[in-house]
Symmetry: D2
Subunit: 156 residues, 4 copies
């Protein structure tokens, strides 16, 4: 990457910066042990270990935490372009239960985009390859950016 003024920022690098910034603010994700493993334009992958506090009366991971992981992956993916966006709606299908000690991985991928609306598919899997949940999210771009739209400094 050059630092020529007016040079457009590399989208992958921009996504990485957005991810780092979001992680630093994401107190909920930090408390739940989430770890951002990858972020690219329209994509993110996040891991979360299932801890004792996430286990419900049926001895499986409470759906709220599976949802929180999927929703967080979606938030990173839909903000990865450095244009603020919010999830307006999310449909989640639970396929198999998560167990104590497993680490869940959520991958969010942009499916489509039209105007200010974009949709994402989020897949939550366990280490043995089974799918724990699949979600479809509808996100809407709002005003503002995650990080300042830095014009790279002009050459001396």
């Amino acid at each position: 990457m050059t630092n020529l003024s007016q040079h457009p920022v590399d989208p992958d690098l921009l996504a990485t910066r957005v991810g780092r910034f979001m992680s630093s603010l994401d107190k909920v994700g930090q408390r739940l042990g989430m770890r951002l493993d990858e972020i690219r334009p329209g994509y993110s992958r996040i891991a979360m270990p299932i801890t004792a506090e996430m286990i419900n009366g049926h001895n499986i991971c409470h759906g709220g935490f599976t949802f929180a992981l999927a929703d967080t992956a979606c938030a990173y993916a839909c903000n990865s372009h450095n244009q603020n966006a919010l999830s307006q709606a999310l449909n989640i299908v639970f396929l198999t239960p998560g167990a104590l000690g497993e680490t869940l991985v959520a991958e969010a991928r942009e499916s489509a985009r039209a105007g200010r609306t974009a949709t994402y598919e989020i897949k939550v899997t366990a280490a043995d390859g089974r799918v724990v949940a699949v979600a479809q999210a509808q996100c809407r771009a709002v005003s503002g950016q995650m990080i300042a739209d830095e014009s790279p400094p002009a050459k001396a």
Copy 2:
């Protein structure tokens, strides 16, 4: 309640017992400060204060906790008949953000039932009357009961 043999168990009373039993096991709900305010056949109402640990980087309640509240209300409502049931899928639409210090209330109501499947509408509101989220859940009855199906003892 009488203890006449063959007397059918009152559905409201049964729902109350199921609610009490589920609450005693619901470690996640307890940790999140949820309080079961009402349970009847096909219905439940649960309150949850928004605490500092639920606030995300945008200074609003993380969608995962709003979802956890809606999902929990659904779990109580769909198990209220004392027939074990699980939510298979849940579609949630976020309408307004929740703020620190507010208490959210989720009401889950059975919309329809056919065979082993039932659907629920769950509305999450704040004290000022605004709706924070609305969800539609699809639940499926599975084998087993929450509490033993007590045949009232026969008269001596």
Copy 3:
């Protein structure tokens, strides 16, 4: 209803007028035999007979027509305030199949409203009372009105 100038239009009457106007334009609904039975602010009820052309290879009503009925009921309900609105997303759960010769009835009810977004629950039932499908729709108000916002003529 009076015809005093400045008198606000009665919401029920306005909804009735919107319904009549929409029906006159609704070529698809007409071809599918839909009949608007009731419209009030945030509510509509529409009937549709299942005809031979709606029957699929499994000898049941094709989900597309059940959806079309639910979506149409939602369109009437969400435009009943005479503020143009479109359904952005719709989640439908199919519970029982519809059969040739049955008349399906869809009722759409506003569940919540916040800013330009509103959600609707739509229930599709058959004459024997069983529920064929339940849907949740998310609608968005757009600019424009169905019918001109007539100020009633001043008294002579």
Copy 4:
């Protein structure tokens, strides 16, 4: 492909046969001008021209027909394994309107599978590449097969 007895049927060939069989029965799809362009295990692609009878009062394709196309693509994809399956629920997000004379193409892809449940993502696009709608479907395997599980005849 050999015709040795006991030889397992090629999954791609089986999907093709299922598709041909379903098409022959699919009166609704035939009437709506749908054309099965491709079918493979867990995948289908179907085209449908937007005709005058699909245009609603706003001069755009009625959502019911977009849904019917998406739902039909899902039906082919989820039956492509020659194990009968039905869509139980479908969440559709409308992104851009379809216009008279356009041909819509729906692609359905299996996202996940667990036990008797599978989920599909269906994308409906127009010839200019824009996405008209995206859907997530939840399907359930039921007993029965589309076509007889033919053991190929033994060699003479």
